[in-house]
C-alpha cells in the first residue's frame, strides 16, 4: 500500500545518489515540485530518464544532479533549446553528462516493456536512422514467423519513478486524467515510485475505465498543490506557456539561471 509522506520525506527516503530516476509526464503533469525537491536535497550522479526532458530536467542538469540522460526529445517545446542541457553537452557545465537517446516510439515501447516485466520491446522502427549507431540499447532481430527485420530495444526499468497526478483517495489510489502519456507505464516499470498529487479526496470520481493506479502499485504519495506548474494539471490549472517562453532567456545564461534557481527553488521549501 502507498504511504502518504511529505514531499521532502518521500524524496529523501526513496531517491538516492546514483539512482536511475524517471520523472515522467508528457507535457502534461510534469512533476516540477518533486524535481525542485531533488535539487534542494542536492541529489547527485542520477541517471535521469524522460522522453521529453523539458524544463524540469534542464533545471536538474543545470543544478548538477545528473551524470547521464536517457531521452527521446530534448527541447523547450515550441520555444527552442534547453540551454542548460546544451551547456552540459557542448561545454560540460556544470559537469559532463553522458547521453543515450531514442526515438519517442522506441522509448514508449521500452517503458511499455518495462511495465510488462519484459527485458526488451519490439517495434518497426529506426529504419535508415543513425540513432542505432550511437545507442547500444538498440538491436535488430528477425521475426521468427515472417523473417522481417524489426528493432529491439532494451526495456526501461528505473530505480524510481516520479509522476504527478490530479488526485489520490485516502487509501492511496491515484487518478490520472487527460494526457496520460507514459505515467502508468513508468510507475509499473520502476522498483519504487513517488506520486505527487494536486489533492487528496474522499472519492476519486473516476469513470469505469479511468486511468487509476491502485495504492498497492505505488510506494509513496505526497500532496503537492500546483506541483506540475509551469506544466499543467487538466481540471486544475493551465500550462504556463508564457513562462516556457521566458525560460529561454533565464536559462541561456549561467548567472541568470543560478539567480532564478536561488530565488525560486533553493529559497523555497517543499510544500
Amino acid at each position: 500500500m502507498a504511504e502518504f509522506l511529505s514531499l521532502r520525506e518521500a524524496v529523501s527516503r526513496y531517491i538516492n545518489d546514483g539512482d536511475t530516476v524517471a520523472m515522467e509526464g508528457f507535457t502534461h503533469l510534469i512533476p516540477f515540485a518533486a524535481g525542485h525537491e531533488v535539487i534542494r536535497q542536492k541529489k547527485r550522479d542520477l541517471t535521469l530518464i524522460r522522453m521529453t526532458p523539458d524544463l524540469v530536467y534542464d533545471q536538474m542538469i543545470g543544478a548538477g544532479c545528473a551524470k547521464k540522460l536517457i531521452f527521446s526529445w530534448g527541447g523547450n517545446p515550441g520555444v527552442g533549446s534547453l540551454h542548460r542541457l546544451r551547456d552540459a553537452l557542448e561545454n560540460e557545465w556544470p559537469n559532463s553528462i553522458e547521453i543515450l537517446e531514442h526515438s519517442h516510439a522506441a522509448m514508449a515501447c521500452a517503458y511499455d516493456a518495462g511495465a510488462a516485466g519484459l527485458p526488451f520491446a519490439v517495434l518497426r522502427g529506426y529504419i535508415g536512422s543513425d540513432l542505432p549507431k550511437v545507442n547500444d540499447q538498440i538491436k535488430f532481430i528477425e521475426c521468427p514467423f515472417t523473417g522481417e527485420q524489426l528493432a529491439a530495444v532494451r526495456s526501461v526499468r528505473p530505480d524510481v519513478a516520479v509522476i504527478h497526478a490530479q488526485r489520490a483517495d485516502r487509501n492511496g489510489n491515484v487518478l490520472i486524467e487527460g494526457i496520460i502519456g507514459i505515467q502508468k507505464e513508468v510507475v509499473l516499470a520502476a522498483k519504487r515510485s513517488i506520486v505527487t498529487v494536486e489533492e487528496v479526496v474522499d472519492d476519486l470520481s473516476a469513470g469505469v475505465n479511468a486511468c487509476v493506479l491502485p495504492s498497492w502499485a505505488i510506494t509513496a504519495i505526497a500532496e503537492a498543490p500546483k506541483g506540475a506548474s509551469p506544466s499543467y494539471a487538466l481540471g486544475y490549472y493551465e500550462r504556463d506557456n508564457a513562462f516556457y517562453k521566458e525560460w529561454d532567456g533565464i536559462a541561456r545564461d549561467r548567472e541568470t539561471f543560478q539567480a532564478w534557481m536561488k530565488a525560486n527553488v533553493f529559497e523555497k521549501g517543499a510544500e
Binding site: F26, T27, H28, M51, T52, F71, S72, W73, G74, G75, P77, G78, V79, S81, L82, L85, R86, L89, E90, E101, H102, S103, H104, A105, A106, A108, C109, Y111, D112, L123, R124, G125, Y126, I127, G128, S129, D130, L131, V134, E148, G178, I179, I180, G181, I182, K184, E185, C211, Y232, L234, E238, R239, D240, N241, A242, F243, Y244, K245
Partner: protein
C-alpha cells in the same frame, strides 16, 4: 487585387493546401501544426489531426505551444497513452500523412534534428528525434515544411535522425511495411518533390516573386528544377485572414498566462 503577405505566410498557406479532408494527419509541432490547423480552419474542416501526446482527432482553438497543451486534449475525440499512440495508431497503419518540420534536410530528404558537428562533441546540440523517425516510415506518406537556407538545405545531413530516402536514395527499396516517405517539401521559397527514380529533391513550383537564383543561393547542393516549373498561387484573402487571426489568437492566449 494583389495582397501583401510574408514568405512565412506563403509557406504556411502552401503547406496547408497540401492537406485535405480525407487525411489522418500525424502533426509535428511548430510549422506543421500551424499548417494543419490552417487547413482545418479553411478548406479541410473534417481533417483528422493527431498529436503524439495521445490526442486523437483534435480541434484546438489556438495553436498549441507544446505537443500536449490542454486544449489539444479537451478538444479531442479521445486521448490515449503514448505507447498506444505510437504502437496502435502510428505503427498500426492508421496515419495517412506524417507532417514534419526539421532543422536540416539533405538532397534525399533525410532529416537531421539531432546535432551539428560530431556526435560525441557536438557544435550545436538539437532536441533529437522525438516522434519523427517512426512517423517517417510508418505513415503512408510524409510532408515536410521548413525555411529554406544554406544552413538547412545541406547536401548530406550531419546526422541522419529520420530517413527520407537514405544516403543513396534507396533506403526504402524492397522493404516490406514501409510508407512512401517524403512526397513533398514546402519551404518559404518553393515546393520540392523527390525525383521518381533517383529520389533527389527537385523544385516543382516557385512561390510568387521567388527566382531560381533565390533557391540556388539558399540550397547547399546543385539543386535541380523540374522541366515544367510552376508558380504557387498566392495566398487568398481568406487564407491570410484565417492564418493571421489564428496567430493573433495564439499569441494573445500564450502571453496571457502566469
Amino acid at each position: 487585387m494583389s495582397l501583401d503577405f510574408t514568405s512565412s505566410e506563403m509557406m504556411s498557406v502552401t503547406a496547408a493546401r497540401a492537406l485535405n479532408n480525407d487525411m489522418t494527419c500525424f502533426v509535428g509541432i511548430g510549422l506543421p501544426s500551424e499548417a494543419a490547423n490552417l487547413a482545418r480552419l479553411t478548406h479541410a474542416p473534417d481533417i483528422t489531426l493527431i498529436y503524439e501526446s495521445g490526442t486523437l482527432q483534435t480541434r484546438p482553438d489556438v495553436l498549441p505551444l507544446s505537443i500536449g497543451d490542454g486544449d489539444l486534449c479537451e478538444s479531442a475525440l479521445t486521448t490515449v497513452s503514448v505507447p498506444e499512440m505510437f504502437r496502435y495508431w502510428l505503427q498500426g497503419g492508421h496515419i495517412s500523412v506524417g507532417f514534419l518540420g526539421t532543422a536540416q534536410i539533405d538532397r534525399y530528404a533525410n532529416l537531421n534534428t539531432t546535432l551539428i558537428g560530431d556526435y560525441r562533441a557536438p557544435k550545436v546540440r538539437l532536441p533529437g528525434g522525438g516522434g519523427a523517425p517512426e512517423i517517417a516510415t510508418n505513415a503512408k506518406e510524409v510532408f515536410i515544411t521548413l525555411k529554406h537556407s544554406k544552413r538547412t538545405f545541406v547536401k548530406d545531413v550531419d546526422f541522419l535522425t529520420t530517413v527520407g530516402f537514405g544516403r543513396d536514395g534507396k533506403a526504402r527499396d524492397n522493404l516490406p511495411n514501409i510508407g512512401r516517405g517524403p512526397t513533398v517539401v514546402i519551404t518559404d521559397l518553393c515546393i520540392l518533390k523527390p525525383d521518381p527514380e533517383s529520389k533527389e529533391l527537385v523544385v516543382h513550383q516557385l512561390h510568387p516573386g521567388v527566382t531560381r537564383e533565390d533557391v540556388i543561393n539558399a540550397t547547399g547542393w546543385e539543386i535541380r528544377f523540374a522541366d515544367e516549373l510552376g508558380t504557387t498561387p498566392a495566398p487568398t484573402a481568406e487564407e491570410l485572414e484565417v492564418l493571421r487571426n489564428l496567430k493573433a489568437r495564439t499569441a494573445a492566449h500564450h502571453a496571457g498566462q502566469h
